[in-house]
């Protein structure tokens, strides 16, 4: 792991005017002499600006902006696994491989990745995808799951996962969240407790008896905002 930086690096890096403005407000949050505290948020914004990874000039740019030694920034970006130091695909698929997901079939999901994207940590030939295995993303109830760019895709099977990849590749919108139609992390196949309608007889505010609630509400929270914002910016 000694070579951590991408071999091919861009010439330089600079924040867009909007991001620069934002960076300045971030830096102002901290007292004089403690500007280095803003380093993580600035690095994250730089990664978003470039499209999911941090080139070496960006490290120096941010170190210079915060008056930090380069090695201190380098320590940070190598410590935190959410910073990528090599380019990623337009859709960056992070497959959870920790125990619940593994038991739920994460290996099959990874096989699907190998089949449709290629080797782990390699960008596919069309530049659309790259995938990696990550530690627990905290959605164990909906195992197995994967994060694609900012959104969680849950309750995956090789079949529905391949369909997600295909649709993304074709430029379609894919609804994030559970892929088997269940409501968020509610029991698969609908509620199995408190199902007696009598319980709600005197409660006008409760859900319709037997209802699993509106699916719109759940997916809204995780929906990609609009078409042009999709994918790494």
């Amino acid at each position: 792991m000694s070579v951590r930086l991408a071999v091919e690096q861009p010439e330089g890096f600079a924040f867009t005017p909007a991001n620069l403005e934002w960076a300045k407000t971030q830096i102002k949050k901290y007292p004089e002499g403690r500007q280095a505290s803003a380093v993580l948020s600035l690095l994250w914004r730089a990664q978003e600006q470039i499209g999911g990874w941090l080139p070496e000039p960006a490290l120096r740019y941010i170190a210079d902006m915060l008056d930090m030694a380069y090695i201190r920034v380098y320590e940070l970006v190598t410590f935190y696994t959410m910073f990528n130091l090599v380019p990623v695909g337009r859709y960056y698929v992070q497959v959870c491989g920790t125990t619940p997901c593994m038991l739920g079939g994460a290996e099959d999901i990874k096989d699907a990745c190998r089949k449709h994207i290629g080797e782990k940590d390699h960008v596919s030939d069309d530049g659309m995808f790259s995938w990696t295995e990550v530690e627990c993303l905290g959605a164990c109830v909906n195992a197995p799951m994967a994060q694609i760019n900012k959104y969680y895709y849950e309750d995956l099977t090789p079949k529905n996962f391949e369909s997600i990849l295909k649709r993304l590749r074709a430029g379609e919108d894919v609804e994030p969240g559970p892929q088997d139609g269940r409501q968020t992390s509610a029991p698969a196949g609908g509620p199995n407790t408190l199902t007696d309608p009598a319980l709600y007889a005197n409660d006008p505010s409760g859900p319709e008896p037997g209802s699993a609630g509106t699916t719109v509400m759940a997916s809204e929270a995780k929906r990609p905002a609009s078409k042009h914002e999709k994918g790494p910016r």
Partner: protein, 702 residues
């Protein structure tokens, strides 16, 4: 004073220390890798775990303050057990974990025999490891020409990272990655750019960082170890010279809290290969324009012929930067016998005058005094180059200050590793401080213990005496001379300088100093010039004078010389050196001088006999006895005479009208500033590394 029960014995320990230090104080040894008294606490090696009664888990004693422990339920003092079965098992476990990824390559490892991991495994470890899988391997890093890396051996104690950041003041090293992927490296693996980087080799508890020039040369038990004093700069760091047979194989620091703590500069540490190249190992005489080998008798004969009937005024003697007090004393006596008043030990032309009093040319605050100072005014000095270890001490003081430490610099701007206010380039800014009209004066005046440090660049110029006076005035203005505090300091860069001034190796008022000697020689008014290891003068200006060069290395002086008398280098003689504080210290002979070379005072003694009047001493003891009679301060080994504030106040009362020229830098190339260093190929490679442009690209020059 908290009470602790350590291994069943009750002790009172001082406030504010950590448990590991408390145990150390009462004589209970606790194993450690990452803890170091002079560095911040990391607490990551887990070797120092101890059991504390009432605590559910073991505690890292390096990170636990003695004040943070609670009494037992029955009111007994906190009870620490370092040898309980649990503590022992934890140590064994920690070592087993450390050894999981540590290669068992001790037979080919340069650290073998002085390896903390090896020693502690023997002392505290379990007999065998249970780990059967593959060990991790880490690619080696490039850390410059001094440090060889075997990063697979690294146990991530982060000594090196903390040292570079906290003491050397250079954010160069870091630990990248996490968990098993942790690696120590510099940013993109450029060489470490600090002149203190060699210390990380000492700090490394395993063989991950070893000395590149010393690689595979010797095992520690083969070396004869001689405690001595470094002469590469004027602070007189305590060193240990490790030699085998006739060769010095390495130089290590010794602990001396008053001076170098436990660090030495890269030049002091790695100059040893210069001790065996370019050596003058036999006398030479210039015959028809060519230096030819000669015997001592022939050589002395040539000199005697030249000096016969010579008018004393047409003889001059210049003492070099590495000469010991003994030979300067002998040369002074010889010059007196010849009848010459033209003697000077200030090759660089610094306008320091012993007649003004000892305090006017010494670092009066003392180096340890830096820890108490709370404001600094640096005048014409770049301490990072002139005295790296002293600069590290200022850096440490600056880093530990609760508020921003006022540090002002007058002279040439340089990266000193700490922040400072740039006050101006030359004497004008200094004059403003001296008369109190400068805005920075307030910060200096508000300080309780301000320090003024005058470098040689401010003094080695025609108006140097006026600058010195002005600096004394400034010291008086800012209150650096009040009460017990003497904050007036002259920072020398030559090891021999303070002793030379102590011995009065300077011309009288009407006699010729270095500048005048060179002028006279150029005009043909000087017949014989005796250079005692003096290589930093412009040899072209010596004109047609007959030059006697006595020294250890074939450098500029030897190239110009008409007669060469081979002397001993500082590792080859017992010599007294007075450091910039005025502290007399003695080097010890680690090896013999090569070939026909002799200890320098014996050469002068023998020459004096050939010239007709033998100097009045036949042994080093005789010489020292004579020297101590006249200069009793040289007998106060390792001590400092109280400084005389009155001399500085008297100096400050003089009128001073310096010129306007800016203060330059004294040392152009740190790694090539004396004949020994110029003979060293290690120094040459360091000089080359620092000269290339990449340091500008990264902006992290060390």
């Amino acid at each position: 004073m908290p009470k602790l029960i350590i291994n069943d014995v009750e002790h009172d320990v001082p406030d504010g220390i950590t448990l590991i230090q408390a145990c150390e104080l009462v004589g209970v040894e606790i194993a450690r890798f990452c803890f170091h008294e002079r560095l911040s606490i990391a607490g990551n090696c887990r070797m120092c775990l101890v059991e504390i009664a009432g605590m559910p888990k073991l505690v890292a004693s390096c990170a636990m303050s003695v004040n943070d422990l609670r009494l037992g339920r029955d009111g007994t003092p906190p009870t620490i057990m370092t040898e309980s079965p649990t503590a022992k098992k934890a140590r064994e476990g920690t070592l087993e974990f450390l050894l999981i990824n540590h290669p068992l390559d001790c037979p080919i490892c340069d650290q073998g025999g002085e390896c903390d991991l090896q020693d502690q495994t023997m002392a505290y470890g379990y007999d065998a490891g249970r780990f059967q899988d593959n060990k991790r391997a880490v690619t080696d890093k490039y850390l410059g020409p001094l440090i060889k890396t075997s990063m697979t051996r690294c146990i991530h104690c982060t000594h090196c990272v903390r040292f570079m950041t906290e003491v050397a003041g250079v954010d160069e090293l870091g630990s990248i990655g996490r968990g098993e992927d942790t690696e120590i490296t510099t940013y993109l693996e450029h060489g470490m750019r600090s002149n203190l980087s060699g210390n990380v080799v000492d700090l490394c508890p395993v063989g991950a960082l070893t000395s590149k020039p010393y690689a595979y040369i010797a095992r520690p038990w083969e070396l004869a170890k001689t405690p001595s004093i470094d002469v590469m700069d004027a602070i007189g760091s305590a060193i240990r010279v490790d030699a085998r047979g006739r060769e010095v194989l390495r130089i290590l620091p010794r602990i001396n809290d008053a001076i170098n703590e436990e660090w030495i500069s890269d030049k002091a540490r790695h100059v040893w290969d210069g001790l065996r190249t370019q050596r003058l190992d036999q006398p030479y005489v210039r015959r028809s324009g060519k230096l030819e080998p000669a015997t001592w008798d022939e050589t002395f004969g040539v000199i005697a012929k030249k000096l016969k009937g010579l008018d004393g005024a047409r003889f001059a003697a210049i003492a070099g930067d590495l000469s010991a007090a003994e030979e300067i004393f002998a040369l002074k006596q010889l010059a007196e016998q010849i009848g010459s008043p033209n003697i000077d030990c200030r090759q660089d032309g610094a306008k320091l005058d012993p007649a003004l009093g000892r305090a006017t040319y010494l670092f009066n605050t003392t180096i340890a005094g830096i820890d108490d100072a709370d404001a600094f005014l640096l005048i014409g000095t770049d301490p990072r180059v002139e005295a790296p270890v002293l600069n590290a001490r200022i850096h440490t003081r600056w880093r530990k200050a609760e508020q921003r430490l006022p540090i002002g610099l007058i002279g040439t701007e340089a990266d000193l590793t700490y922040g400072y206010d740039y006050l101006g380039a030359g004497p004008e800014a200094l004059a403003k401080i001296a008369d109190g009209s400068h805005a920075f004066v307030k910060a200096l005046k508000d300080a309780k213990h301000p320090m003024v440090i005058v470098g040689q660049a401010a003094l080695a110029r025609p108006d140097g005496a006026a600058v010195l006076t002005l600096a004394a005035k400034a010291a008086k203005t800012i209150g650096a001379l009040d009460g017990d505090w003497n904050g007036f300091n002259v920072l020398h860069d030559a090891a021999a300088r303070a002793a030379g001034l102590d011995l009065g190796f300077v011309p009288g008022k009407k006699d010729l100093d270095v500048e005048a000697i060179l002028d006279a020689a150029g005009k043909g008014n000087m017949d014989v010039v005796y250079l005692l290891g003096a290589d930093e003068i412009d040899m072209d200006r010596l004109g047609k004078a007959f030059v006697i060069y006595q020294g250890s290395h074939g450098d500029q002086g030897a190239h110009r010389a008409d007669v060469i008398l081979p002397g001993a280098a500082y590792t080859e003689k017992d010599g007294t050196y007075v450091n910039t504080e005025g502290r007399a210290q003695m080097t010890a002979r680690a090896i013999f001088p090569p070939g026909d070379a002799r200890e320098d005072w014996t050469i002068l003694r023998a020459l004096s006999a050939v010239l007709g009047q033998a100097l009045p001493f036949d042994s080093l003891q005789d010489l020292r006895a004579k020297m101590y009679e006249v200069h009793p301060n040289l007998a106060l080994l390792d001590l400092i005479e109280p400084s005389d504030v009155a001399a500085i106040i008297k100096l400050a009362s003089k009128a001073a009208k310096p010129g306007r020229e800016r203060f330059g830098l004294k040392i152009e190339d740190y790694y090539l500033s004396n004949p020994v260093a110029r003979a060293s190929s290690i120094m040459a490679s360091l000089s080359a590394m620092h000269a290339d442009g990449s340091e500008k690209a990264t902006g992290t020059d060390g």
